[in-house]
């Protein structure tokens, strides 16, 4: 790899990112990023709320969406076979991939068979999940991102930090900088004297990308939905770059998670209402593409769909976690999450950040790595995500369930300090007499400090707390004692 020059900008790796608490600490220090995130998430939150409020039966739509997705989960084998059959009959070549490597290999082989050395890409989460671009780079194929934000990330040697707006952490002047220094190295350079006006930035991106669109013989996408009944592949987007990828190249390869199946076209209606309003605050996506096979002279003439598992059947196997697979990647949960708003996406250590990342990642990848064991705790359980999610994923329940799995995992390896503490607390709280005993100790401490607030001091656990906050001294009389004294005769 190092012996030849790279074809595309080299991104950093997710693997070097430490577990959430540590990564988050570093991200919190980035003042510009925090400002950008606060502004961007607040804007899009408000838009979403307005668009959701416009729909009278919004709650029923959410329930319907959740039920449709659950039905698909219950009969996934049936719908997948039905979808494969319908797609094949319509002229789509269907592939099955157990994991990311297999999916990448399939895509790479198709590209090799076509003899292409570059491809254009529609923004897709699933190819981020499999790290497809890096696989293609290794076998000598350049993959170009064509979504504006994804382009900023790619040219910036950066990692995406949001499902929908991967460059949400960047501002306009950073974008201008990236375009000016990098575009020329990978194609049409940015015009001289590029300013940070949005229209100029967009025009520079358009010119840079146009050359790639016109040349590319193959495009790669994800897929928002596949209708099992008709074998229709559905891709929605806002910018029109996707439409270019879907219409110009002869070959289209779509990598689609197996949970993206919907039974019928009627089911689609529910999601086409929920998705744009939840994600961009638009009433409808500006571009909706439906491919049922290939049509001579219109669109891709060779269409492949790679159906990817990559841990999804494991998620499905857990009755308490499986609602996670309802997710339609709208990113509403990110935009409302107060934790995400402060740290951004990189701290989550995977392409899926925010609440959905905190529950999806550890389920897809398992709990063997420290960063995956930290993710279920990257939430205050405030429940804002529960309320906003268009498919009603019960985040807080799933987070607590995953914490339980983490606790079991840890104690199965060896008993931990935390378990000791929890056991101790369990004993104290199992009976009022135990609690009274514990309170007596705290009261003694209270008498010692006599109503003074406690400031910074090195006490285990509390020390971290007291770095930034004071704590009121423990009471010198507990409620139990007050009750005995004042109401004891009752």
């Amino acid at each position: 790899m190092s012996t030849r020059e790279r074809l595309t900008p080299e991104p950093p790796s997710w693997l070097g990112i430490p577990p959430f608490p540590e990564a988050a600490k570093a991200e919190l220090g980035k003042a510009q990023q925090r400002k950008n995130l606060r502004h961007a998430t607040a804007t899009i939150r408000t838009k979403r709320a307005i668009r959701a409020a416009e729909v009278d039966n919004w709650e029923e739509l959410r329930t319907a969406a959740a039920q449709i997705k659950d039905r698909v989960g219950r009969h996934l084998d049936h719908y997948l076979v039905q979808a494969e059959k319908a797609m094949t009959e319509a002229g789509i070549t269907v592939h099955w991939a157990r994991d990311g490597d297999e999916a990448n290999r399939i895509v790479g082989e198709i590209a090799k068979a076509k003899g292409v050395d570059e491809v254009v890409k529609i923004k897709s989460m699933v190819t981020q999940e499999t790290d497809l671009n890096e696989h293609l780079e290794e076998i000598g194929i350049a993959a170009w991102e064509t979504d504006l934000a994804e382009l900023i990330v790619q040219l910036g040697h950066d990692l995406p930090s949001h499902i929908l707006v991967p460059a949400i952490h960047r501002n306009r002047s950073e974008e201008r900088e990236i375009f000016t220094t990098e575009m020329g190295r990978y194609g049409t350079p940015a015009p001289e004297g590029l300013s940070d006006e949005p229209a100029e930035l967009a025009a520079a991106a358009r010119t840079h990308l146009r050359e790639k669109f016109l040349r590319a013989k193959m495009a790669i996408s994800g897929g928002n939905f596949i209708v099992a009944e008709t074998g229709t592949l559905v891709i929605v987007e806002s910018e029109g770059n996707g439409r270019m990828c879907l219409t110009l190249p002869e070959t289209l390869v779509s990598v689609v998670g197996i949970e993206k199946i919907l039974p019928t076209v009627e089911d689609l209606e529910v999601f086409l209402k929920l998705l744009p309003r939840s994600s961009t605050g638009e009433r409808m996506n500006p571009y909706n593409s439906f491919w049922t096979g290939v049509t001579p002279g219109d669109g891709p003439q060779d269409l492949h769909v790679v159906l990817l598992d990559n841990g999804r059947t494991n998620v499905l196997a857990d009755p308490e976690g499986r609602a996670t697979l309802r997710c339609i990647r709208c990113s509403a949960c990110l935009n409302i999450c107060p934790v995400y708003e402060r740290v951004g996406g990189h701290a989550y250590g995977s392409p899926y950040p925010g609440p959905i990342g905190a529950i999806l990642g550890p389920q897809l990848r398992g709990l063997d790595e420290a960063r995956d064991r930290a993710l279920p705790y990257a939430s205050t359980l405030c429940g804002a995500c529960n309320e906003v999610c268009p498919v009603k994923i019960p985040f807080t329940d799933i987070l607590v369930h995953l914490r339980h799995k983490v606790a079991e995992y840890k104690t199965s390896k060896h008993p931990t300090v935390e378990q000791g503490l929890m056991k101790g607390a369990g004993w104290v709280m199992s009976d009022g007499r135990h609690l009274a005993l514990a309170q007596r100790a705290s009261r003694t401490a209270g008498l010692l400090v006599k109503g003074r607030w406690l400031g910074p001091m090195p006490i285990p656990l509390a020390g971290r707390w007291l770095q930034a906050r004071d704590v009121e001294a423990p009471p010198t009389e507990t409620f139990r004692q007050w009750w005995k004294k004042n109401r004891g005769d009752k």
């Binding site: 607590v400 009022g432 007499r433």
Partner: protein, 235 residues
């Protein structure tokens, strides 16, 4: 944790004509253990809760978070432990468990509890009260009826303060960032008191307000509602 809150609750309920008793056996809802993932360790608290409160008509708690946990988690824990009897009992007891403001408004049917509190106050609707226990605007109905109060709106009120039980220990830096933002919003209201229905959140935000020497006190809603011209229950 802070005895002035249950004391205020007792006085308030008695003033409104309730007979209050306090089963000495009772402890805690077990939420801290459940939410950290320690289901087995939380189970004894469920048993104890059921044992302590089985015989009462109404169980009232001055904490949206604890009441939410009793309602949302107790039966689940019993179910997971395979204890059908406990699950049934826990569901029944949870059905009679009320958050204080819910009890006042829904059961007693009062919004004006005869309180007097002549201060500038801003209200933080804590996440668990708002989203899990769903107390709605009941606290505000009660506060609006308090004599002398100057109730001002808190910007970004529905955003979490960053306490989140063990979250504040496991992710101290994010927690502090969130609590600091909350404290900034509180300061912008120029209130003398920040009121809420959950002591843990008040402790979190109050800890920062105190460190900043902001001069803003935190107060539990029970303490405001218990205050009268004759007796102010602010500790």
């Amino acid at each position: 944790m802070k005895p002035s809150i249950p004391i205020a609750t007792v006085k308030l309920l008695e003033r409104l004509g309730c007979t209050v008793s306090y089963p000495e056996k009772q402890t805690c809802c077990g939420q801290i253990m459940t939410n950290t993932g320690y289901y087995k360790e939380a189970l004894p608290t469920v048993r104890n809760y059921v044992d302590s409160f089985e015989d009462y008509d109404y169980i009232v708690g001055p904490s949206g978070s604890c009441v939410g946990s009793v309602r949302e988690q107790h039966a689940m824990l019993a179910h997971r432990a395979g204890d059908g009897g406990l699950e049934e009992a826990a569901t029944a007891v949870a059905g009679r468990t009320y958050e204080l403001t819910e009890f006042l408004v829904d059961v007693l049917g009062v919004t004006d509890v005869g309180a007097y509190f002549p201060h500038r106050v801003t209200y933080h609707p804590t996440c668990h009260s708002m989203r899990i226990t769903k107390v709605g605007d009941r606290p505000l109905q009660l506060l609006r009826a308090v004599r002398g109060i100057d109730l001002v709106e808190l910007p970004m009120a529905d955003q979490c303060c960053g306490f989140g039980g063990t979250f504040s220990v496991k992710n101290p830096d994010v927690s502090i960032a969130m609590a600091s933002d909350k404290a900034r919003h509180v300061r912008s209201t120029d209130a003398e008191y920040l009121v809420a229905g959950d002591q843990a959140c008040l402790m979190n935000i109050g800890g920062i307000l105190h460190r900043q020497r902001s001069g803003i006190h935190t107060i539990h809603i029970a303490e405001i509602l218990a205050s009268t011209e004759k007796e102010v229950s602010v500790a």
